[in-house]
Amino acid sequence: MKLRLRLALTAVAVTVPAVFALVQVEHSVRRRTTDEVIIESTLSQMQSGGRERCEAAPETWMVRSRSQRPPWEREGLPDGSSGPPSGSVAPDGPPERGPASGGPSPGNEGPPRSGGRGPLGRRLPPVSLYPFDGRFVSRNPQAPALDDGLRQGVRDDGVGVRRYSKDDGALVQDLLLRMPWEGGPCEYVLARRVEPAESPEVGLPPLSIWGVPTLILLSAMVVALGPVVQRLRRLTEEVRASSGSGYEQPVTVNGSDEIAELARAFQQARAEIQARMAHQQAREQTLRDFLANTTHDVMTPLTVLQGHLAAMQQRMRAGEPLESGLMLSAMSEAHYMASLVHNLGAAARLEAGAPQVQHAPVDLNALVSRVLGRHQPIARPQRIALESGVPATPTWVRGDETLLEQAVSNVVLNGIRYGREDGHVAVVLETTRQQSFNLRVIDDGPGISEEERSRILERRFRGNAARTREPQGQGLGLHIVHNVVELHGWKMTLAPSEYGGLEVAFTGPLTPPPE
């Protein structure tokens, strides 16, 4: 449903019951004040000569006023509108007695009708009075019958009230009053007022009274909504255009209202989407580059391995003994490839950032043991002694186990790959009293020059030189190590070892053991 239609319907749905409620309230107030006026005027009339006349001829005494229309119903108001001057309340006090149309004669004695004004600023309604004695019996045969409600009401409160509608729609209002004297045929007086069906007191007020304000209100709402709907339409178009252009086009609706706020929210969402798209594109580009670079890295040792295997097969066919150097080299290539593939996984996770990195308690003792176990089979044939020393109890740190293991593996593998024959690689893990650990990988290989050491620590791992297999290149290895250490907030140092090779040291905080 359109916004305008919905708002118009809502306004109607709210206004109509509200108007009816107001009319009901107005009716109820009008009845009550009419009652008061009738009571007051009847008492005043009975006290100023009415009692005497009634008691003189109770069989015939009654007062019947001529039905008199309020002035606005007869001739309309000067301003042309029809309806009572709402809100004006007549002054209190006994109604003023105007000239009676028929004079104070029995049967045509005017109640305070002519000139007497009701509390709502209109003339008093036509009222008939009938006398009753203490047993609620009237000597006047024209008097209407009293029901129990009226009798009960007058006994309890001094006034009995009954209202009912006649068949022709006229509203009858009966008030039974106790007079301020005891005994006699006029102890009670019934005041009856009959409001004709067409009177504004009965039923709904005319459409002209409530229809016009409602119509004005609706028109005002629809007109006021115009600019709002227009702004919303413009915003919708702009958002559509923006999404159609891949969020390149900005949303320009401005101002200080809620629609402008919505536009600003769209603008923020657009910026967020753009940032994510840019990040995604950058990652995809990185992964493409990475894949291209690393495919080369894996293919090279695979080619070498194929060459070695082909050479071995030739030797076997020729019945020659297998050369252990060739076998060793093939094993080394296979090992290197495994390490590269692990590094690819590590690099991909490092590139993906924090969500991919899982931090959990890691036992460095077990980690060192696994790393050494993995490299022992390749170190032993090269006659490189692989040693380790760890504390007697588990050394717990918090980190990503796979990445940490890969980092230590890379350093150890470098030590083996570039170590000399009959050389050594040792992993020493120690803890300090300051709740930190110190893990050192030392070797007695050729080492790295100072210039190269600082370059390794500065370089990001995707440099071309980083992918060469030469000792100064270190493969992906040390760069991944560097990134992993950074990610964990550890410290890493490269220094010449006291045995002439390289010493790579990691330091970081310990963590309490898991339960």
Binding site: G373, R374, Q376, P377, E387, G389, V390, D400, T402, V425
Partner: protein, 224 residues
């Protein structure tokens, strides 16, 4: 025959390779080619389980979870996946160790041996015998081939520190901090002097081995 080991591995070439290597190392392997959700009583009498994760039938970790409800047998996980989440989950579910593929057969055998050896190492023994060496940690006496050897306090503490973790390298720094008097002679050079004296007193048996770059280790030793 040595310990029985249950291998759960669906890949035929890899499985037969592992079986061959375990048998070559003196173990008695039992090979299952698919995972099963075991209940109590269905596990054969084995000392260790080598469990692949990607299995037909039942996922390895589910099998481990079911196994742990009734058995404490050591489990070594084999996985091609090098994902930390898998590892952490496996260890939480009660795995004792894991290996990522590819691995060298020698490494697997070493890991199996280490796992089977672990429980005996955890016991603190009053008397440690390593080769011809007998060290009474409570009585503070040392014998080489039943011949008592007189040691100074530092020398005994040094030997006892190594004897508590036989076959394992103990770092020089640890020994300096825990054996030497830190105020008087707490340097690695002093430690080396004590070690050389200790070796002399233990005679021709080469029990205290220097571990390159690390420190010292107590080994069964050989006669010079």
């Amino acid at each position: 025959m040595g310990d029985r080991i249950l291998l759960v591995e669906d890949d035929d070439p890899l499985g037969s390779q592992i079986v061959g290597h375990l048998r070559g190392a003196g173990f008695e392997p039992v090979w299952w080619r698919e995972g099963r959700l075991l209940v109590s009583g269905e596990l054969p009498d084995v000392s260790l389980v080598v469990l692949d994760l990607m299995l037909p039938g039942t996922y390895g970790l589910d099998m481990l979870k079911a196994l742990r409800t009734f058995s404490e047998v050591p489990v070594l996980i084999l996985s091609a996946r090098n994902d930390t989440l898998d590892k952490v989950r496996a260890l939480k579910l009660g795995a004792d160790d894991y290996m990522t593929k590819p691995f060298w057969p020698e490494e697997l055998v070493e890991r199996v041996r280490a796992r089977l050896r672990r429980p005996t190492l955890q016991k603190e023994q009053a008397v440690v015998e390593v080769g011809p060496l007998r060290i009474d940690l409570q009585g503070h006496t040392v014998q080489v081939r039943s011949r008592p050897v007189e040691l100074t306090r530092v020398e005994f503490e040094l030997l006892a520190a190594l004897a508590r973790r036989p076959q394992e390298a103990v770092t020089r720094q640890w020994l300096v901090e825990h054996v030497l008097d830190p105020e008087r002679e707490g340097t690695e050079r002093t430690l080396d002097v004590h070690v050389s004296r200790l070796r002399r007193k233990l005679g021709p048996v080469k029990c205290v081995e220097t571990v390159w770059g690390v420190g010292y280790r107590l080994v069964p030793g050989e006669d010079a």
